[in-house]
């Protein structure tokens, strides 16, 4: 029997907060992607905790889909980073101001 679920939910909230702060504060696009992964992992931890608390497998099935979406997001995002780096030769979010109309 594991600990009560609220401990896990508080931990997931802290992990999500750290990821969100990193996403807002850092300027390297790759590190910003890693912070998005942190936030997705916090959501996964929340889903698994609710799955255990409610005794329902649906939370774990949703985590399965979140993993797939995270993989697709990383693939497309890193493709965009490579395409931008080829043109601008830097991986900083500030350089993307050239995209404004």
């Amino acid at each position: 029997m594991s600990l009560p679920g609220d401990w896990y939910l508080i931990l997931a909230a802290l992990l999500f907060s750290i990821g969100a702060i990193g996403l807002l504060v850092r300027r390297n696009v790759l590190v910003m992607f890693m912070c998005i992964e942190l936030m997705l992992n916090a959501a996964n931890l929340t889903f698994v905790t609710f799955s255990r608390m409610l005794g329902d497998i649906a939370g774990q099935a949703v985590v399965f889909f979140v993993l797939v979406v995270a993989a697709a997001e990383v693939v497309v995002g890193l493709g965009i980073v490579v395409a931008i780096f080829r043109r601008r030769s830097s991986a900083t979010a500030d350089d993307l101001h050239v995209m404004k109309g």
Partner: protein, 251 residues
């Protein structure tokens, strides 16, 4: 917190080992997450991300989600972080960056304040609402351990079948989109010299380039293509034009 801890010690269901596993997992997760945010080097950030992912997998196992823990290790630590590291090394951005400079004045304290307030209100909301509300065991019950694989399979292939099919389509679209985004745009080779690039390999060394593109590509177009273009500075792009165009001819 302390009341919850006292209630935890009073009830006999969770053992000390469970609390120890949770403490170790939480420590690993938080240290890794802070390492991702605070490290100057992107490679160090990626390795800290691996640490966090292992901690999350540990807590998955602690909560009887063994299958998801294995998938977490294989997909995240095995594929996604390797992809991150590959792109970091490929782009050559594995050097320290200056994280103290703040181009937008006051953005960092404002962001930290905003997130702290948001997460504190989220936790307060969860405490006041007693965390998990709703019906128990709506779709399929958890079985624990290896039984979860059967339950996840049943759930994915019956209740979430359409979502599963959409996932397959999403992955195909992501792969095609990544290839289109990451490939070198072909007009870079065409802008330099369109008539020579299209005409010379097709007519002169089309069959030879398909047989041995690495050896015949840089050697044979150089005498045929460079003299009309005339400036010798253009020679580095020429093997690129000679190397890519025969592939298009071969297709």
């Amino acid at each position: 917190m302390s009341g919850s801890l006292a209630a935890l010690l009073a009830t006999s269901h969770p053992t000390v080992a469970d609390a120890a596993v949770f403490a170790v997992g939480a420590l690993i997760i938080l240290v890794g997450a802070l390492g991702v945010v605070l490290s100057r080097n992107p490679v160090h950030a990626a390795l800290s991300l691996v640490t966090t992912l292992f901690g999350v997998a540990l807590l998955f196992i602690e909560q009887n989600a063994d299958f998801l823990a294995a998938v977490q290790i294989i997909v995240y630590a095995g594929a996604i972080v390797v992809l991150f590291l590959f792109v970091i090394m490929f782009l050559g951005v594995d050097r320290n960056e200056n994280i103290e400079s703040e181009p937008l004045k006051g953005q960092r304290p404002l962001a930290i304040l905003l997130i702290v307030v948001a997460s504190a209100s989220l936790i307060a909301l969860g405490v006041s609402a007693h965390w998990a509300t709703g019906a128990h065991q709506v779709t399929y019950p958890t079985a624990g351990g290896y039984g979860d694989v059967r339950q996840i399979g049943k759930s994915v292939f019956t209740t979430y079948l359409y979502a599963f099919e959409a996932t397959a389509a999403l992955l195909v679209i992501a792969v095609v989109g990544a290839v289109i985004l990451a490939r070198r745009p072909p007009r870079d080779a065409g802008v330099a010299d369109p008539p020579e690039a299209t005409g010379a390999p097709a007519g002169v060394d089309g069959p030879g380039a398909t047989a041995a593109p690495d050896t015949a590509g840089p050697a044979t177009p150089a005498p045929g293509v460079v003299p009309p273009v005339a400036p010798p500075v253009v020679t580095p792009p020429e093997p690129v034009a000679g190397g890519t165009v025969p592939e298009e001819v071969a297709q």
